[in-house]
């Protein structure tokens, strides 16, 4: 009796939370898949008809936004790796006793609402704002120069908003590196550059991998940065999905586009994991 109860314990613990996730996370995904294959409109109601047209039409109409989202997602992720790696490296190896202080400073942005931070950038970068106003009055940049409503502003905003998610996992991976491994490399007459390229870099790859997972998905599917910083000519797929769902209430098209986005992100992540499998990376590191 008590053995039976013991074997049931994990299931009892899981039950309430799993029920919540099943009803409000798993089932909605299925509902959305079904909705994306329905036809009809918001007035007359929808019927399930295996209507693939929502996909064909949706992708046909909005392929620009889909491609732009993927491009912005990839570029902003690469920028985050390039900007973030030296920071993670320096804190991990040279942060000394103040490591946690630096990490805390990197996490400060999360204490301010994501939307408010992005609007604060809009305010700072506006055409006659705190940055461009003085530059223009000094004549350093032409009067019609602007940063907002450019793709650079959107990509910059994306890189800004998700950078801490990239630095933290890279830092964790670098911090774990045993200093004795670096000493061993030097004892074996590896130069500093060789030690970095052949020891530090491979050992940090799992962190880079985790960082990309945490930043590429939110960056690609974001619509806040494109709306606030990008003007009308830099809309991403998130803007379209948001608009179709909440303004036009064209649920089949909106669901089809959401599913397309989800599929693209999944394919991207799996291809990426395959190309740079974390286990392979660990194997290489262990060798």
């Amino acid at each position: 009796m008590s053995r039976l109860r013991a074997s049931l314990t994990p299931y009892l613990l899981l039950f309430p939370g799993t029920l919540w996730l099943a009803i409000f996370f798993v089932i909605p995904t299925v509902v959305m898949l079904s909705l994306s294959l329905q036809s009809g409109d918001v007035v007359n109601g929808y019927a399930f008809t295996f209507n693939w047209h929502s996909y064909v039409d949706g992708i046909g109409t909005y392929h620009d936004q889909i491609i732009r989202s993927l491009v912005y997602g990839v570029i902003s992720t690469v920028i985050q790796i390039v900007i973030g790696f030296p920071v993670a490296y320096w804190i991990a190896f040279k942060g000394g006793t103040r490591k946690s202080v630096y990490l805390f400073l990197l996490l400060l942005p999360f204490l301010v609402s994501f939307v408010l931070r992005t609007i604060s950038w809009q305010f700072f970068l506006s055409d006659n704002g705190m940055l461009l106003g003085p530059l223009k009055s000094l004549g350093l940049v032409p009067e019609d120069f602007h940063i907002l409503a450019t793709s650079a502003a959107v990509i910059g905003g994306l890189a800004y908003n998700f950078l801490p998610f990239m630095i933290l996992p890279m830092y964790v991976a670098l911090e774990r590196i045993d200093p004795r491994v670096l000493e061993a490399a030097q004892d074996l007459y590896a130069s500093k550059v060789q030690t970095f390229l052949r020891v530090v870099l491979p050992l940090s790859l799992p962190g880079v991998f985790a960082g990309v997972l945490m930043t590429f998905v939110p960056a690609t599917s974001d619509y806040v940065n494109a709306s606030v910083l990008g003007g009308t000519s830099n809309t991403m797929i998130g803007n379209v999905i948001q608009n179709q769902f909440l303004v036009n209430q064209d649920y089949p098209t909106a669901s089809a586009l959401s599913f397309t986005l989800m599929a693209l992100l999944l394919v991207g992540i799996f291809a990426y994991a395959k190309a740079l499998g974390t286990e392979d990376v660990l194997e290489v590191a262990a060798r």
Binding site: R5, P10, Y11, L13, L14, P16, G17, T18, W20, L21, F24, F25, P28, V31, M32, L35, P86, V87, Y89, W90, K94, S100, Y102, L105, L108, P109, F110, L111, V112, S113, F114, V115, L116, R117, T118, I119, S120, W121, F124, S126, G129, M130, Y160, L163, K192, P218, S221, D222, Y223, V224, V228, Q242, F245, L246, Y251, S255, S258, M262, L265, I269
Partner: protein, 263 residues
């Protein structure tokens, strides 16, 4: 530069520049909460004032939005804190059939694009004709917070020594007594960290809330709606106060942890 760029002072200066970049919009937000603006637009610096701190709650629906946000965040913290901790305890402590599938669902929920989560939950509510509002927001926040709490608690549980619980049982404690007097105190730091994470995720969430809010406003939604007409300084002040409270909690937490470590 002797010793290479990576060892020199250059990298330290670079790190501080990146930190400055991260903090810059926060500084702008705080600064313009002190701006003595005369017109509707809080865009140009017109002198220093504390008056917006006195007039903090003068915009009724903004105050209501902030109250909604805080209330939803507290309820999310409690509900997701309990449900997520139970999952984390099960995954960290027991080996059972189905744990792999559960881990997969956790991973999917954490890595899923927010917009896809928000859109699919809206699909469910639309299909079932559920009226959108306070409760649908709360449901969505608990939904996306559970996995984060579970992962945090699981990490804590895995580092613990289960022999203490065996000892409690050997000494005649029943399962409930063992849980209350031994397991819970041991995993409590993880539960607390996970619940605070749920609070932070909830109060900041925009995307999923935007899909499932109906006409109900939260703090981020109100800001979003007001961007086109310009933000009143009260938003800056509220943002500043939330930021200050977060810093205070983090610093107190760090000091307490240091004291415990030294004791």
């Amino acid at each position: 530069m002797k010793g290479g760029l990576l060892r020199g002072r250059g990298l330290q200066i670079y790190t501080w520049l990146v930190i400055a970049w991260l903090v810059l919009p926060i500084a702008v937000m705080i600064l313009f909460g002190f701006n003595d603006t005369k017109g509707r637009y809080n865009t140009a610096w017109q002198g220093f004032t504390f008056k917006w701190y006195g007039k903090l709650f003068e915009i009724g629906d903004l105050t209501q939005a902030l109250v909604n946000s805080l209330l939803i965040a507290v309820l999310t913290m409690l509900i997701a804190g309990v449900l997520g901790s139970l999952i984390g305890l099960a995954l960290g402590r027991y080996r059972f059939r189905g744990s792999g599938a559960m881990n997969l669902v956790m991973f999917a929920a954490i890595s899923c694009a927010e917009i896809v989560m928000g859109a699919s939950l809206l699909s469910l509510f639309v299909t079932l004709a559920v009226p959108l509002g306070f409760w649908t927001i709360l449901i969505s926040h608990v939904m996306f917070s559970i996995s984060f709490v579970a992962v945090t608690v699981r990490a804590r549980v895995m580092t613990l020594d289960s022999s203490l619980e065996e000892a409690a049982r050997d000494l005649g404690a029943g399962p409930w007594t063992t849980f209350r007097l031994v397991t819970l105190p041991m995993i409590f730091p993880g539960v607390l960290a996970g619940s605070m994470l749920a609070f932070a995720l909830s109060i900041d969430d925009f995307v999923i809330t935007n899909f499932n809010s109906g006409g109900t406003m939260t703090f981020p939604l109100w800001i979003w709606g007001a961007t086109r007409v310009g933000l009143p300084p009260q938003v800056n002040v509220m943002g500043t106060l939330i930021f200050a409270a977060g810093v205070l909690i983090a610093v107190v937490n760090a000091l307490l942890a240091r004291r415990r470590a030294n004791a």
